[in-house]
Amino acid sequence: MSLPAFAALLERLVFTPGRNAKLALLRGWFAGQPDPDRGIGLAALTGELALRTAKPALVRELVATRTDPALFRLSYDYVGDLAETVALIWPARAGVNAPPPGLAEVVAALETTPKADLPALLAGWLDALDATGRLALIKLVTGGLRVGVSARLAKTALADWAGQDVAAVEELWHGQRPPYLALFAWAEGRGPRPAQQDLPVFRPLMLAHPLEAPDLAEIGPSTHRAEWKWDGIRVQLSAMPGGRALFSRGAEDISAGFPEILAAMDFHAVLDGELLVMRDGAVAPFADLQQRLNRKVVTARMQATHPVGVRLYDMLFDGAEDLRALPFDARRARLEAWFARTRPARMDLSELIPFASVAALEAIRAGAREAAIEGLMLKRADSDYAAGRQRGKWWKWKRAPLGIDAVLMYAQRGHGKRSSFYSDFTFGLWRADGQGGEELVPVGKAYSGYTDQELLWIDRWVRNNTTSRFGPVREVEKTLVIEVIFDAAQRSGRHKSGVALRFPRIARLRTDKPAAEADRLATVEALIDGEAAED
């Protein structure tokens, strides 16, 4: 009965917004299901179930043999999703009393069934399942669960359930294959810790604290090293005799999306760096990198138009030697020596920025307006590579945010704990409407930055100043000015305004300011890329 159980799990995960609630659902799955089904479910969630998948067209043809075309069309129009429409409309067949298939049975049969027999196999399963089970089956065989669970979250749940640290699960993960029998045996205390054989595993990253003005007293040229803070994504490159992997900051294995980096990892080392789109050595804006993120496969064309590289800044392992206990300066020397020796393709070193005093550093930070630079990193010269965010070792000192006074246009209810609050805000700026007047054009959405008190206030304001509703969204009177700060402005073809803001958040409510005095779109356009004046 495990496919229905798995379907029930997916159904709950899809509707559950809260991380803790998702963890609880996953722990319940591990505790309640037998081997090998729980491991197969885990693999399906972490994207490691390599199934020979069926095309959605096959499912569509199958349902056409069982349903009236007009009724199917009306239903599909209403539901809007093919897999869900098929799952719901699939007619029960009188006399079918086969038990629903098991999860392991489905996976095994998909491996061995000849392609020509696949439709009949699928139809038989669909007949034996209820609507929830049918949807899970269709999602499974067409390859796309989309239940909002990252591999990292699934591993965290497994670690919680086993009473282990997630780092311990990460270290073991790469040596294990579905259905992870040895991993579950270890987690339940029934078996030994599975051996690792030189496989690439994620090592916990060292993280930085945001630097506040008083912290500057601790900084000095003799004790600290400065680097640019690059606006890409943090990655860990792990190349071991047993394999290679590229990990994101959140420990997701993102190797598949960046085959050219994997190909360049022709060495044995674990490195820390920033993944960037680079053209002729120049770093492209973050928006370019975004085109390459969250892709399972990447086309040759995409690799050519959006070439990626890694700017390295730390070294955790040189061959089998663990460098993490060494001070920063020593690791840096090892990194530079290794780089000079190895000369890996698609990689360079993040330069150290010499500085004579804190005042000089402040000037350097203020002068940095290049789009690819978020600010400065300040690292203690004598610090080890410490997992997590340890105060006083690494600092991030972002350049001062940019700010605008915008007008609140729409508000949307949040999820989970915020579901009774209007907490997501679309704001706009003025521009000429082409008919001699002014119009507001939306430029971004902010859902953070405010205090709890401010949220209560805005929520009430939204409810009292609603002009129309669209489902969970309310349009409001265009009278409330909010001060929005953001890290950068970029050109964007996807937004009506032609600009996109990086990490916008609400700094202040400007109830003192009339909406007509809010900023114009031109103000943001002047801030795009390097166009900004120094602040």
Binding site: V14, F15, T16, L74, Y78, V79, T85, L88, R463
Partner: protein
Amino acid sequence: MPHPETWMRVTPQGLYCAPGDFFIDPARPVARAIVTHGHSDHARPDHGAVLASAETLAIMRTRMGEGRAGREQQALRPGEAVTQNSVGIRLVPAGHVLGSCQVVLDWQGSRIVVSGDYKRRADPTCAPFEPVVCDVFVTEATFALPVFRHPPAEAEITRLLDSLRLFPDRAHLVGVYALGKAQRLIALLRQAGWDRPIYLHGALLALCELYEGLGVRLGPLAPVPSPAKRGGGGLLAGEIVLAPPSAEATAWVRRLAEPVVCAASGWMRVRQRAKARGVELPLIVSDHADWDELLETVAAVQAPEVWVTHGRDDALVHALGLRGVRGRALHLLGRGEEEEDAAPLPAEAAPAAETAG
């Protein structure tokens, strides 16, 4: 035998029986009305004479106040017949909510059954639907798409109870309509062995009391308490709380312990509907016939012609055509409104809603 179209027609007020000179479920005040059940899209205030089941009349008085539930009220028992200007009138249970009835009309050998809203599943809070053979069957089509096949309600209740075990530190807030769904859900929970008090939003209290008064046992019920201090929360962890749909969008909900937002409705069958409402645990429990039940019912009443009042008439009329039954969409205005997702209650109105019916 006169064709039913000659003695029953659609008017702006609703279905009108000309020889009897009365309306069925009229949308505006009329002199003489027959009301199938108490939902606000069928039972309107301020008619002259109202004929309905005793339960429906009681529900109308509770919701509208004594003065507005019809100047003259006439209760008809199931099976009892009256004649109005030569039109025979009977009420037969429709299984939708307490008191809900089909209206069986006979005139000169021709029979029309106006079913109101109905369902075919067992419901501990009301009498079951009885098919009556007729010449024209007037049906709803709320869930008339083949994607709507309601699972057994008992299985949905099990999912709710499973969730309470999984999240004992959270309140479970179930969005339900005040008339029918709330009481059916309570009765189903009692059948499943849930004997703890069930907590009610103020907007549900009056009708639950009325059900009890009419002999439907609901077990221990309690109003949702107010927080100890303004803005306080954390109440009713591990308990079941029933509230009108969309109460989770109001400030009222902030008193509850990290609520799991559930909704009990046939619409929950479609993910996008549930997602758009921010529902965390959709429960597919409906008081309407699903697709299969609509078609079974039409077959059972053996009517050569079926009139569809509201809902997905396109799909139903098409499917009837495939079965050799003539289907006709009536396009009645204002139907399905109580049962559609109600607009969110404004936060400021929440305290008032606690006393309103």
